[in-house]
Symmetry: none
Subunit: 539 residues, 2 copies
């Protein structure tokens, strides 16, 4: 049986950027585009070229993708020809093979927002789409406020989408711009739109989550015949967000009737990277991943009820609608020490630490992790700090050196040219094999810029560690993340530091303190200690 093809259109980089508090850098956009491409979406909407510097810069240096890179813009303005509209020209200048233009389909908006005649608006849509075609581009038309417009004036809404379709739009995308349409209304209007002559395999659906129905509305449109779905990773987007592709993708691949009716560009192998892709985006946004997210949340397969947990041990299908591994997620049984220990042994093995089943050290390590997590530590990513904690519990952690004290000074004052400048200086005192060593460094980089107190501290700490110095000389700090784990005045800071060495190894360490400098120092210290456990051979 051949399955019908559904197309996935990602707008994380455009509508997702409309999320309050989200502002991607050009580099972050590149990273996200590459992840989307690896996942296998069909279209990547990269932004609105000409609307802001970041989007323009992204298209100038956009990565080569298998997915169709798409620029977003709006239909030409009335009174200008498509050729002479500079806003439209900027969109085309991005040079993408596909262009998606938003236009009005709700008569009220044509009058209230554009202040032009209904006929002029139809003409703008038609001429704009024709212009895209003349320029050799694949044309998409985002039918803004389509569902509200259809409810108010179905004839006009249909004329508008027909104008786009007849001008050659590959996709006419029905947008529930305000997010207020209920799933059954989406189903009815999509059905009627197809009956009115726009073929379903030229129809897309673009919904928002203002009533928590964006996923259901997308599915209702597919049920009715639409064959393109627009959405974003983690449901980013204007107001309450767009339809969540991180949810829709596993539904389409795993849930019936979708799985056996449709096929998409996403493979089951790529589906296994979904959880990781979702977390990567949160990392870029420095957001705490939403635990209860469908499919990818850390609680999505957490079984807390005692009755559930005991049944799960007999047969996981008793309380799981899918196997968590299919989306790269994992089962959690919070209260089950049994499950905890076997997980732990697996993770220790990954670090080269073989511990026998039933070894009391396993319970000790789990207790320490629990205690430290209560203080704000997190060992999900900080594998190197986890390993040091385990080695310590197992009595396999050499002392190497001892930090006696440190002092960091951050100063801001006027220089001799009357400019405000800042500078940090760090002093670290360590004892290495009976010898006391004082090191001092400052935070200035090669360009004369202040890189801050953590930079000064990192340099001083790794300046003279005696016999260990040669081992850490190729280390460098490559990333630094800070999270406040408790709000308010009792704020506790968690710092995660990524380090790299000359062999290309990369490892993460964690530090926690009310004092951000001290939290950083702890993570720096762990980074060095981890490197020494790996490379130091006592002679």
């Amino acid at each position: 049986m051949t399955r019908e093809r559904l197309y996935l259109y990602d707008t994380t980089l455009r509508d997702g950027q409309q999320t309050q508090g989200v502002q991607f850098s050009t580099e972050e956009k590149r990273t996200i585009a590459e992840s989307l491409d690896a996942l296998g979406v069909d279209y990547i909407e990269g932004g609105w070229p000409g609307a802001n510097p970041t989007d323009s810069a992204f298209f100038d240096t956009a990565p080569k993708t298998r997915a169709t890179m798409t620029a977003f813009g709006m239909t030409k303005r009335a009174g200008l020809s498509a050729e002479n509209d500079d806003v439209l020209a900027a969109v085309l200048n991005a040079g993408t093979s596909a262009v998606c233009l938003v236009g009005k389909t709700h008569d009220f908006h044509v009058r209230a927002a554009l202040g032009i005649s209904l006929e002029d608006n139809l003409d703008n849509i038609s001429k704009s789409v024709k212009h895209l075609k003349n320029m050799g581009r694949e044309a998409l038309f985002d039918a803004e406020h389509y569902f509200d417009g259809y409810r108010a004036n179905p004839d006009y809404a249909l004329q508008a989408v027909r104008a786009a379709y007849e001008a050659g739009a590959r996709w006419v995308v029905l947008c529930d711009t305000n997010g207020g349409t209920m799933p059954e209304e989406v189903r009815r209007i999509t059905t009627e739109t197809i009956a009115a002559g726009i073929p379903g395999d030229h129809l897309g659906i673009h919904t928002h989550n203002d009533t928590e129905n964006a996923v259901a509305c997308s599915l209702a449109a597919v049920d009715a015949g639409a064959r393109q779905i627009q959405g974003t990773l983690n449901g980013l987007g204007e107001r309450c967000g767009n339809a969540n592709l991180t949810t829709l993708i596993p539904i389409l691949l795993l849930k019936e009737p979708y799985a056996s009716t449709y096929e998409t560009g996403i493979t089951h192998a790529a589906l296994k990277t979904l959880t990781r892709t979702s977390r990567m985006l949160d990392e870029i946004l420095n957001r705490v991943p939403f635990r209860q997210a469908a499919f990818v949340g850390s609680s999505a397969f957490a079984h807390k009820a005692g009755l559930h947990a005991s049944a799960i041990l007999k047969d996981p299908t008793t309380y799981e609608h899918i196997d968590p591994a299919t989306v790269g997620n994992a089962r959690i049984i919070p209260m089950s020490n049994q499950a905890g220990q076997s997980n732990l042994r697996e993770r220790l093995q990954g670090a080269g630490l073989v511990v026998k089943k039933g070894d009391p050290a396993l319970g000790l390590i789990l207790d320490r992790i629990k205690d430290r997590e209560a203080l704000g530590y997190s060992y999900d990513t900080a594998q190197a700090s986890f390993e040091l904690l385990a080695r310590d519990a197992l009595g396999q952690m050499p002392a190497f050196f001892e930090v006696k004290r440190y002092r960091v000074t951050v100063e801001r004052r006027k220089n001799k040219y009357n400019q405000m400048v800042s500078l940090s200086e760090a002093v670290v005192v360590v004892k290495v094999g009976g010898t006391k060593k004082l090191s001092v460094s400052e935070s200035m980089d090669e360009t004369g810029s202040d890189r801050g107190p953590v930079n000064a501290l990192a340099k001083a700490l790794s300046k003279d560690l005696g016999p260990y110095q040669a081992i850490i000389d190729d280390m460098r700090l490559v990333d630094f993340k800070v999270r406040i784990t408790q709000g308010g005045t009792e704020a506790v800071t968690r710092v995660i530091i990524d380090s790299e060495d000359g062999e290309g190894r990369r490892w993460s360490t964690v530090g926690v303190s009310a004092n951000i400098v001290d939290a950083s120092f702890e993570a720096l210290l762990d980074a060095i200690r981890w490197k020494l456990t790996r490379d130091w051979k006592a002679t």
Copy 2:
């Protein structure tokens, strides 16, 4: 036209407590029950008496509510009479007028989890419900795994719910326990269940959000004829959570066809408290409220896209599906490089700064915002820093005082008891009205704990500002957020600080620097300057 009555059944205190990381105290349960009652739900499921000490204690001291207080439990075990089942007795002993018992309806679970015959399970259901009736209680039956069971063996699933209904259950609640059923399947099975003889006004729906469809599944069941909806505040619950009543309630009251077809126990006046009720629960849980939550999230009516914002100014219905005030929420027009001049004017007006359309200052302010956003600043949330930037561009920013220099020292060393302790000290030098003032503070709090360099700096900066001191004396730092805006060694730190004063005003400021202490200092300085622009009256 009379509308049909829909009943709302809240299980925040029972299924909501199954959320990973949630553990209510008895006192918290009381507070939540009172809020639910004020909101106007019909049933409050308080917990499982006998299953844990908190739930038992809650029922012992449960508040008097207009809503029907309901105890949860499970059907009697095979081999015991209902009268002699001690687990069931504990549930009845809570003395509630209604009792909800969960029981199996999926043949696979009867065999796999209970290990009893299909007939015995039907007998357990029937006898348990009869026992509740004999004890004078309103009986509810939670049909566990009903949809999975119906798919596998519709005859048996129907026999199970019929056993409960015929024994006198006021409500038979169809549960999608594993959360994997799609909305259309819920619609079909609910319709067929009614056709098989269980009247819709005796049917409830209980869904989970594992595919982000809990709200849509609940609505599909109501469409099919079910008349009770179970859910939780903020969608708390096992795994991905239960159907979110905070979303369902405004849908039922405001969205068609629901608003004109049904009535609930919730008044429009109570609906206006919905946002506050949602935030209250987050406060109890010490969670950051989910910004993008439907209806009640702080971003739910935030219009970031420039085109949206300018249309909103003409007519809010252009980009809002409901009036935010109906649910006690508010419109936000955040500032960013996406936004245009009209957006800006609206936001300035909110700050009491009236600027005429076309004023060149608008372009100047937008340019400054763009430049600063490129450096890592973000003005979406930092409204107070935005206002200072605007005042400065408009030439309406008093100098107040000048910071000449500061110095912060962070030190970690052994104390006289040979314990490692850390301490920070800050010196700030300001010039106020021609007078130079040196202030010094340290980071120790009342308990003797080090609160870090930013704490010391905040104290020193606000220690002596001469004539302005009286105005800032009631300020306090209430939240502190850090984000690294560029990865790697070129990391730039963005700090957002929330401050509060004696009048309960709360405002956010932003600082950016490669040096985290300096970024914090900038945000602290803005916080003070904003307070002074608001409260300083030059004499």
